[in-house]
């Protein structure tokens, strides 16, 4: 059985900048895969290529048996691949419930069914208590949770999360980790982008490390934390101050 997601030599150039260069990786069904790398490594760019927000300059992206490179985002979504945004994009003037219903409508035309599905998922992710609040009125932690719930409502086979834990306090992070595990246990594969290594390690089955657009290491978390290339990449980071959660 082929892997759920398979990237082969994916590159993305912005003018003279190689945001991604020959990135290859494999996500097996049922896994939680961590994608890490320092600031500007090209993680979000890779997400955008895979989710159809822009086409890769070259390379192949296979998802569930289809070559999806160059597909429009809505088509990628319908094929079963959902993503969240690093900079949250909740619908500000819609209620939390309505936000999630938009996701649910990807699989149904009936409002009643979408509403029921949304309510069920809000209970699952612990947002039911805010169902009638406006998207704009949520805390950053709840906004991130809402984006995740909304993406989940599209019933994806693969869920790609871009820094859902950035900007959260330790207690909120612990909740998020529990939730991501629960999502995997329901049968959804997860590709998790995080900037902070410590968050990714305990929950990932497999970790891929990007630096300056290239893959510099991959393997189980245990070996990654000792990889000299990874350590070097992250060491240089100290001198580049970074604004968590807003980048």
């Amino acid at each position: 059985m082929p892997a759920l997601l398979e990237l082969d030599a994916v590159s993305k150039r912005f003018g003279g900048l190689d945001a991604n260069r020959d990135v290859s990786l494999v996500v097996e069904e049922g896994q939680i895969v961590g994608l890490i790398g320092p600031n500007g490594a090209g993680k979000t760019t890779l997400f955008n290529c895979v989710s159809g927000f822009f086409p890769p300059t070259s390379g192949s992206i296979r998802f569930a048996g289809n070559e999806i490179a160059g597909w429009a985002p809505e088509r990628v979504l319908r094929a079963g691949l959902a993503r969240t945004f690093q900079v949250v994009r909740t619908f500000p003037e819609m209620t939390v419930l309505d936000n999630v219903m938009i996701g649910a409508f990807a699989r149904t035309n009936r409002a009643g069914e979408a509403r029921a599905r949304a309510a069920e998922l809000l209970a699952f992710t612990g947002l039911a208590g805010r169902a009638h609040a406006r998207g704009a009125d949520l805390t950053i932690a709840d906004k991130k949770r809402l984006e995740l719930t909304r993406a989940l409502a599209t019933q994806p086979r693969l869920l790609m999360l871009d820094e859902v834990m950035a900007g959260l306090n330790p207690a909120e992070r612990a909740q998020a980790v529990t939730l991501i595990r629960a999502i995997r246990d329901r049968g959804t594969t997860v590709l998790l982008v995080e900037h902070v290594m410590e968050v990714v390690m305990p929950i990932s089955d497999h970790v891929v490390v990007l630096d300056s657009g290239r893959k510099i290491a991959e393997g189980p978390p245990r070996t990654i934390v000792r990889d000299p290339n990874v350590i070097a990449a992250y060491l240089g980071e100290k001198y580049r101050p970074r604004d968590e959660g807003t980048a």
């Binding site: 985002p73 945004f85 619908f91 500000p92 409508f105 309510a119």
Partner: protein, 355 residues
């Protein structure tokens, strides 16, 4: 009686009472200028409601809806004038022509962002106006006069079959009332369906909408098609009401501006907003028109411009939001502790719960 007017039953009750009042209205005023004002109020309420589907729900502000209005008026009138086709048939034909035209023209328009989109819609109606003014087939600037339907005694008479009423204006009122009800029903159905949800998502954040599988362009085109079709139906009505059309009366810029303004004043993105806007603005503009008679149309535009500035500055959510603001103030003095928002069902807990 103590019914919360914001609740589901309360809203139906208000709608039913309003409808009965509207049906009885002509019995009290007869056929005079009040009836004419009421016809215009209903006409603009329906036009603003149609505008609202694209401009309100989806946030795509069009200042060229007069183009659809004109297409509706001209389609049925040309069919009637040349081939003696009843306006009742011309009306749906005009609606279809307007919808097809809207889809073809707005396809490229939707690639334009923000202000450029609005400007393109203005240009659209203006170009159409110039084309019709110079198009011999539709009798150019001279316009088309719809001949009277005459009775056996050769006097102009009433004809439901040809949507023309010369003895009493009251049937026109009921026709436009029916159309307005249809427009409101369309808006309500759109608002509650997947279409309405998708349009609101598009208005809120197009990229996020796409990431959730919303085919943004397709849904905008559906919205403009519906908006154009409804607008065109009113165009046919208007032609029959005046029994005369020319490019100026059916496609001029002020018409487009007034349609948008009625919706914006009332409150965009709500079903009640356009109705409220028409109820306030149309009688007002009738008064100013009669008071300022002879000074041309420019003063109207100055007034509208001023109104837009006032709304933008003080009440961006329109008249419907005044009630909300008032209520919120009242709530603020109430003790806290009620987590749920006013007027809404208890929080959704169990799967399958409807609210």
């Amino acid at each position: 009686m103590n019914v919360d007017l914001r609740s589901r039953t309360g809203r139906w009750l208000v709608a039913a009472v309003a409808l009965v009042a509207l049906v009885l209205f002509p019995l009290f005023v007869g056929g005079g200028s009040w009836l004419n004002t009421a016809v215009l109020v209903l006409l603009y309420a329906g036009l603003a409601q149609a505008w609202n589907i694209l401009g309100g729900f989806a946030g795509q502000v069009s200042l060229g809806n007069a183009a659809f209005f004109g297409i509706g008026a001209y389609t049925s009138t040309v069919l009637l004038d040349r081939w003696n086709v009843s306006p009742w048939l011309g009306m749906p034909v005009g609606a279809i022509v307007a919808a097809a035209f809207a889809v073809a023209v707005f396809f490229p328009f939707f690639r334009l962002g923000g202000h450029y989109f609005a400007i393109a819609t203005i240009a659209l109606a203006e170009i159409l106006l110039i084309l019709f003014t110079n198009w011999a087939f539709v009798r150019g600037a001279r316009g088309i006069t719809i001949p009277f339907v005459r009775g056996p005694d050769r006097r102009p008479t009433d004809s439901w079959a040809f949507l023309q009423f010369n003895e009493s204006r009251v049937p026109y009122y009921y026709v436009v009332l029916g159309l307005a009800v249809l427009a409101v029903a369309t808006a309500v159905v759109v608002e509650r369906s997947k279409l309405g949800y998708y349009l609101r998502a598009i208005k809120n954040d197009q990229q996020a909408a796409r990431s959730l599988g919303v085919p943004v362009l397709r849904y905008k085109l559906i919205a403009v098609a519906i908006s154009a079709a409804v607008t065109a139906a009113f165009g046919t009505f208007y032609a029959q009401y005046l029994l005369f059309i020319d490019p100026e009366t059916t496609m001029r810029l002020e018409l487009s501006v007034l349609i948008a303004l009625v919706a914006i004043l009332g409150g965009v993105g709500t079903v009640v907003g356009p109705l409220l806007g028409a109820l306030v603005l149309i009688p007002l503009s009738e008064v100013t028109r009669s008071q300022l008679a002879g000074s041309g149309n420019t003063l109207d535009l100055v007034l509208y411009g001023g109104l837009i500035m006032l709304i933008a500055a003080f009440q961006p959510n329109g008249l419907v939001a005044i009630g909300d603001r008032f209520r919120r103030r009242r709530e603020a003095v109430r003790p806290a502790g009620d987590e749920t928002e006013r007027g809404e069902a208890p929080l959704v807990g169990a799967p399958g719960t409807r609210n």
